[in-house]
């Protein structure tokens, strides 16, 4: 069986390795456009922080690819013919396949900001060396950022999410003064409550970040050399800078495939069935680029008028989907069912873990909130009728697996708090004494009508 995988990121590479586990004879080719070898995108910031080299970002020793007989091709897919089952590459090579996996990942979002018309019309999602306008998603962004920092004293970073705060931390490391524009009234409301965001804000201030909440980019001005010189915000402030970071989310990277001979159906991403198969038979998609439809009552998927869909843009999901697709390539029809949600991050020195539902559920339910006296750790437990539904932990380590188990078993808040020690994962001698924190009940964020 000939398997071609487009994209050598975490979804594609995980899929390739799992396919090899499944079938020792399959002919597996990985086509990567961005890099010769799979690298950890989530570790990009540690390269910019000078803690890891480019080579150290690679999760596998290079010998693994020859040992597992995975052919790596550094090229760009330019045409897909699903009838003849061929994929044409920019370099002229035509790859025949029995099964094709699209794992093209995502690209940085770009909005039509005033003053950035030239960047808008160029290839969006890429960083621009000449104008000092950068994203922080890929290796090209890292190269451009590293080239720019020596001539940068001040920078503005737009976007109150994970990539934004990572870029802020990296720029500070390089001695750049950073202003962080967060559109929302507090940092990262898709995962944090206002009280938690306040703790993260304090952490940012401790590290010298100038954070502007509730403000966004209005206009960009460039100097005579074409490099960004100042930005104006919606609130009318003028911020001088030599670098502008745009970290306003990512979107599935599907544009190139929409123009091919036999384009798979797309909306936001490649539309796929619950078994991760696209509208083209034998063509699958996984990771950031996949938009997973739910099956109708008859068990079928309607690609023509797609309804609700799931588009997970996180590392852990890409890994899971890659593993699952690898099985379905061989005729299994495993349905992708994401486990209970969990995610993690680190805001400067403050670690963060979330499990279950901490946002939607807290709109209509009270949360139990405990904060360390020094404000560097907190625990929030969201519960519905006294049964836990979600945990948010800042500044302490927990085993999300145990918390997920408690949620699925609908344990009571009291029991979870009594046994919270069992889920704690801090270093020896260093358990964060959550039970001694001042605690209070947070009301639902939305008042019931």
């Amino acid at each position: 069986m000939k398997i071609v995988i487009v994209g050598n990121g975490v979804a594609g590479t995980t899929c390739a390795l799992a396919a090899r586990e499944r079938d020792s004879k399959a002919d597996i080719t990985l086509v990567g456009e961005e890099s010769d070898y799979f690298f950890s995108r989530t570790a990009l910031m540690y390269a910019f922080l000078d803690r890891l080299s480019r080579r150290e970002l690679e999760p596998y020793e290079r010998g693994v690819y020859s040992k597992k007989r995975l052919r790596l091709v550094r090229d760009k897919a330019v045409d897909l013919d699903a009838v003849k089952q061929t994929l044409s590459l920019n370099g002229g090579e035509v790859l025949a396949f029995d099964r094709l996996v699209l794992a093209t990942g995502s690209k940085a979002n770009f909005f039509p900001w005033k003053g950035l018309e030239r960047e808008m019309s160029a290839a969006t999602g890429e960083s621009h060396l000449a104008s000092g306008v950068v994203h922080f998603v890929g290796l090209q962004d890292l190269d451009v950022c590293e080239a720019l920092v020596p001539s940068t004293k001040r920078a503005v970073v737009v976007g109150g999410g994970l990539i934004g705060i990572e870029l802020v931390e990296c720029l500070l490391h390089h001695g750049v003064k950073v202003t962080f524009l967060v559109r929302e009234p507090f940092f990262w409301p898709v995962s944090l409550c206002a009280e938690e965001a306040a703790l993260v804000l304090e952490e940012m201030k401790r590290h010298g970040v100038d954070v502007r909440l509730g403000d966004e980019l209005a206009r960009v001005e460039k100097g005579p050399d074409g490099r960004v010189s100042k930005v104006e915000t919606m609130r009318g402030e003028t911020l001088f800078c030599e670098m502008l970071g745009l970290c306003v989310g990512v979107k599935p990277n599907v544009a190139a495939f929409q123009k091919m001979s036999t384009p798979p159906r797309t909306r936001r991403g490649f539309l796929v069935s619950p078994t991760l198969e696209t509208s083209l038979p034998g063509v699958f998609a996984c990771g950031d680029c996949a938009e997973i439809l739910s099956a109708g009552p008859d068990g079928a998927v309607n690609f023509e008028s797609p309804g609700q869909a799931l588009n997970e843009l996180i590392w852990y999901s890409a890994k899971r989907q890659g593993e699952l697709v690898a099985q379905n390539l061989f005729g299994d029809a495993l349905v992708y069912e994401p486990p209970l949600f969990f995610n993690s991050s680190k805001f400067f020195d403050m670690e963060y873990t979330t499990v279950g539902d901490v946002v939607a559920a807290s709109r209509t339910n009270p949360s139990w909130f405990a904060v360390a006296p020094n404000g560097r750790a907190s625990l929030r437990v969201v519960h519905a009728q006294n049964k836990v539904v979600g945990f948010n932990v800042l500044g302490a380590r927990v085993d999300h697996g145990i918390l997920a188990k408690w949620i699925s078993e609908k344990r009571s808040v009291d029991e979870c708090m009594e046994r919270f020690k069992e889920a704690q994962y801090d270093v020896e001698f260093g358990r964060v004494p959550v039970e001694s924190f001042a605690r209070r009940e947070l009301p639902p964020t939305e008042v019931k009508p």
Binding site: V10, T42, A43, R51, E56, P150, H173, L334, V398, G430
Partner: protein, 378 residues
């Protein structure tokens, strides 16, 4: 790369095998060659004479020599480096406790106590070292010169206490809490901990080299035992052969590998060259550790494959390969320094002393395999 001033550039060069790193390594190696072989490279007895002047305030009974002076330098290096480590990892209780203990043991059992023993007319004895690292404590001539409590301590310590502690807590209780070699690596050696090679090839080499030294060490001990228990005067060739094996061990293992290369290569090969590739004690404890309850636990499906754990592993373990495969692990070489858990930005790793979880965790891959098996049947 970050814009670097001259001081930062120099530091970068020292820490990352730059010119200054090579020069420092050369200087350290030269220092150890002079220290071990001063009678060959210097006019006789100069170092000992210097040490006697340096420790003028000690009573005569202490008989300070070059090794006393070396012990002093060693302790200073550990206290200075250790203070920096305590500050750097001040948010991490495990690092604070571990570093404090290893510093304290060096200053007391590793330096002051042996001098005090001599002052009180007792043999110079290091309570923090055991066979097979402190090879001579099982040597008949040493044993003959010691009072009974010391002999009992040597045997009970090496043959009972050390293995039991290792079964319960892993080799870390010794290699990164007590031992002076590990102590120097984790304090003075902190700037170079990331330089150890992480390749599969180095792991293969390590398995051969360290166990070879262990075998030579056991063999040499056996020769001593035979020499002590049996009258060998009838077998002169065996006797002379045994003598040359003992001399070779003393020179090659103790002087060259643990001293000259073990510490001299800090700025080039990382801080645990001796511990990882050659130390017979580490080899033995590693084998016991595999049977014990110590392990590194991996949070399931939380690894982002960044590789910081691998980079900062001083024993050259590719920690990331276990973390991204969701697999708890016990590697024979792991000295439990805890730095992998410290640098992990997602808190995936945890050092633990407990027997495998019951019931065992099921990974997402296992679930998929079960489901695939069911769907194939159906």
């Amino acid at each position: 790369m970050k814009k670097l001033g001259w001081a930062a550039s120099a530091l970068h060069s020292v820490k990352n095998r730059g010119l200054l790193g090579w020069l420092l390594s050369g200087a350290l190696i030269a220092f150890y060659v002079i220290l071990y072989f001063d009678d060959k490279v210097l006019p006789g007895g100069q170092l000992d004479a210097f040490a006697r002047h340096f420790f003028w305030f000690l009573p005569k009974a202490a008989t300070p020599g070059k090794w006393t002076f070396y012990g002093f330098l060693y302790s200073v290096a550990m206290v200075v480096g250790g203070s920096w480590v305590l500050w750097k990892y001040r948010h991490n209780k495990y690092q604070i406790v571990r570093t404090s203990v290893v510093m304290l043991i060096q200053v007391s059992f590793g330096f002051s106590v042996p001098i005090l023993l001599k002052v009180f007319s007792q043999p110079e004895y290091y309570f923090s070292y055991f066979w097979p690292l402190k090879f001579d404590y099982f040597q008949p001539s040493t044993i003959a010169s010691q009072p009974l409590p010391f002999i009992v301590y040597s045997f009970v310590g090496s043959l009972l206490f050390v293995p039991i502690m290792t079964l319960l807590y892993g080799k870390r209780w010794y290699c990164s809490w007590v031992c002076g070699c590990g102590g120097l690596a984790n304090t003075f050696g902190e700037p170079w901990r990331h330089l150890g090679t992480k390749t599969q090839r180095s792991w293969k080499f390590e398995k051969i080299s360290i166990h070879t030294v262990l075998v030579i060490c056991l063999l040499t001990t056996a020769l001593y035992a035979v020499g002590a228990l049996a009258d060998l005067s009838a077998y002169p060739r065996f006797q002379s052969g045994a003598e040359s094996v003992k001399a070779f061990y003393g020179f090659a293992v103790i002087a060259v590998l643990s001293g000259v290369l073990g510490t001299g290569l800090y700025p080039l090969g990382g801080t645990r060259v001796w511990c990882r590739f050659f130390c017979p004690m580490a080899a033995l404890l590693g084998l016991i550790q595999k049977l014990g309850r110590y392990r590194i636990r991996v949070k399931k499906n939380m690894c982002i494959s960044c590789g910081l754990c691998t980079k900062y592993c001083e024993m050259g373990i590719d920690v990331r390969s276990y973390a991204q495969a969701n697999s708890d692990f016990t590697r024979a070489s792991c000295v439990g320094c805890g730095l992998c858990a410290e640098v992990c930005p997602r808190g995936v790793l945890r050092l633990e002393n407990r027997w495998p979880l019951d019931p065992p965790e099921v990974s997402f891959v296992d679930i998929l395999k079960q489901r695939a098996a069911v769907s194939q049947k159906g």
